[in-house]
């Protein structure tokens, strides 16, 4: 399934379903494939950053650049796996793991103070100064029992976000 032919075989659907741990039903995977082909305009098998940015709702999102780094060069199977955190069948752990990966930009399994600052900057833009951002982050970290030098791992994220009713779901339209 390297090149995107317009035909998705039953074997392909099952392979993709396995890869994403059955987070999506077979119809949803077919729908996602149609969407993937719609976005991949030059038909090269993956969606380029430019093609993602041509979706206005995505382009205006403050975290679009970060997500582009994670979405770059994904083929369809990996694309579905990426979106599996947003399925209604995904566990809380999967969702927290996804959020952790967004923060952990160097991928070493530890989130530093600066990585958290970077995301805060993306979300607030020029409306909060660098100094204020550091102040805010330091304050809430201290209150939660961490320091500026703490390196948070996934278990920490699970503890912080775990019991708060995380809502992170999208519905795949099935015609």
């Amino acid at each position: 399934m390297g090149n995107t032919s317009s035909m998705l075989t039953q074997y392909d659907i099952e392979e993709v379903q396995d890869h994403c741990n059955h987070s999506f039903s077979q119809q949803e995977i077919v729908s996602l494939y149609q969407r993937f082909c719609q976005l991949d305009r030059n038909g090269c098998g993956f969606i380029s950053a430019d093609e993602f940015m041509s979706v206005p709702e995505f382009a205006v999102n403050p975290l679009s650049q970060r997500l582009l780094r994670m979405l770059d060069g994904l083929n369809f199977k990996e694309f579905v796996a990426f979106l599996s955190a947003f399925s209604s069948r995904a566990s809380l752990q999967q969702k927290v793991e996804f959020i952790f990966k967004v923060y952990d930009s160097d991928g070493n399994g530890k989130v530093t103070f600066n990585e958290m600052l970077d995301i805060l900057r993306d979300l607030t833009g020029q409306f909060i100064s660098k100094h204020q951002r550091e102040e805010v982050l330091t304050q809430v970290l201290e209150e939660a029992g961490y320091t500026n030098d703490s390196l948070l791992v996934q278990a920490d994220f699970m503890k912080i976000l775990g019991n708060s009713g995380l809502k992170m779901e999208v519905e795949v339209p099935v015609d």
Partner: protein, 340 residues
């Protein structure tokens, strides 16, 4: 930085409200509800780390977005799969291609012959008598458009009062295809604003459409906007000029949705009369507010509105939208920091 955001907030809501109304669309009206709720209470670490609403919006856009839907052709369902429908369909093919099609070509050719043989003499010989010449040219353009519509055996119903030749008025309509122009020209010889095309379309533009008073623009030239705006203003001032028709969406849309109107048509200092085209009905009325006009057109023709500019087919959205989100999140963080 806080000073700057305070300055923004203190801008009077009544002053410049028309400006902000036109420039700042209410994105919140169109985004899926429940996207960013207003959180309360003291700021905690989890509030800063929980980026799930933003991520959900991004994933939602990846999976499906309203802008792409505007340009998707709605597939028609096959109906001739039956044992009695299929032979009827075959018969239909014979009738349509063997009989009706040559007839249509004939009607169209006849129309062009009549039009060309009348138009060029009128155009060249009556150079001195402008008023008569213009009247005849208008009549001839309306005639050739009627021939077009007849060759498609189009049935067009016009609702509402006919446009009259008055100064200081401009007509706006939604845009689905090139046919919109012909359908409307048949009723009244409008002057339109069009992209300059090369080739034989350009030839048509230079000769016939020029005489109607049509205005050209070039999307790729940035200075062009000022020139075109001036030409538009001059046109609506003149009492003898043909009524001006503008398609504010700026691009063809699939007739199930309407994209944001560009504000040029509404800044000419004259009455705006909306025309709704749904390959079913048309109406005319008089209003000012472009949002309201678009609402009326969308409601009347049964179209869904989206907050996206048709030009996003060619360019990226402005940073305004992203900054709005950032500003609201920043305000919320700072406010909750103050709370004890």
């Amino acid at each position: 930085m806080t000073r700057r955001s305070r300055q923004r907030r203190s801008r009077s809501p009544t002053m410049n409200s028309l400006e902000t109304d036109l420039e700042r669309p209410n994105i919140e009206d169109y985004l899926p509800s429940g996207s960013i709720q207003e959180p309360r209470g003291k700021l905690r670490l989890r509030d800063l780390l929980d980026i799930s609403p933003t991520l959900t919006e991004a994933a939602g856009a990846i999976v499906d977005d309203s802008f792409t839907r505007c340009f998707k052709s709605i597939p028609s369902e096959p109906w001739n799969w039956n044992v009695y429908l299929f032979p009827l369909w075959c018969l239909g093919v014979i009738v349509r291609y063997g009989f009706l099609f040559p007839l249509r070509v004939l009607v169209l050719t006849l129309g062009w012959i009549i039009f060309l043989s009348c138009y060029f003499p009128v155009h060249t010989l009556l150079k001195g008598h402008d008023k008569l010449r213009k009247k005849l040219e208008r009549g001839l353009v309306e005639l050739i458009c009627s021939f077009f519509v007849a060759s498609w055996t189009g049935v067009i119903k016009y609702h509402g009062p006919r446009p009259s030749m008055r100064p200081r008025q401009v007509f706006v309509a939604n845009h689905t295809s090139m046919i919109d122009f012909i359908v409307l020209e048949q009723m009244t010889a409008f002057a339109v604003i069009m992209q300059k095309h090369p080739g034989w379309v350009g030839l048509l533009q230079n000769t016939i459409l020029e005489s109607l008073g049509c205005i050209w623009f070039n999307r790729s030239e940035s200075k062009d906007r000022g020139i075109v705006a001036r030409k538009l203003r001059e046109h609506v001032e003149g009492a003898d000029n043909n009524p001006l028709l503008i398609f504010p969406e700026g691009t063809c849309v699939n007739n199930h949705y309407s994209v944001m109107f560009k504000k040029g048509a509404f800044e000419l200092g004259c009455t705006v009369c909306p025309i709704a085209v749904k390959y079913n009905k048309i109406f005319v009325d008089a209003f000012w507010n472009s949002k309201k006009v678009r609402d009326i057109i969308s409601v009347r023709a049964g179209l869904k509105k989206v907050p996206w500019d048709g030009y996003l087919k060619y360019s990226r959205p402005s940073p305004k939208h992203r900054e709005q989100k950032q500003e609201s999140f920043a305000d919320s963080v700072l406010r909750r920091l103050e709370e004890k």
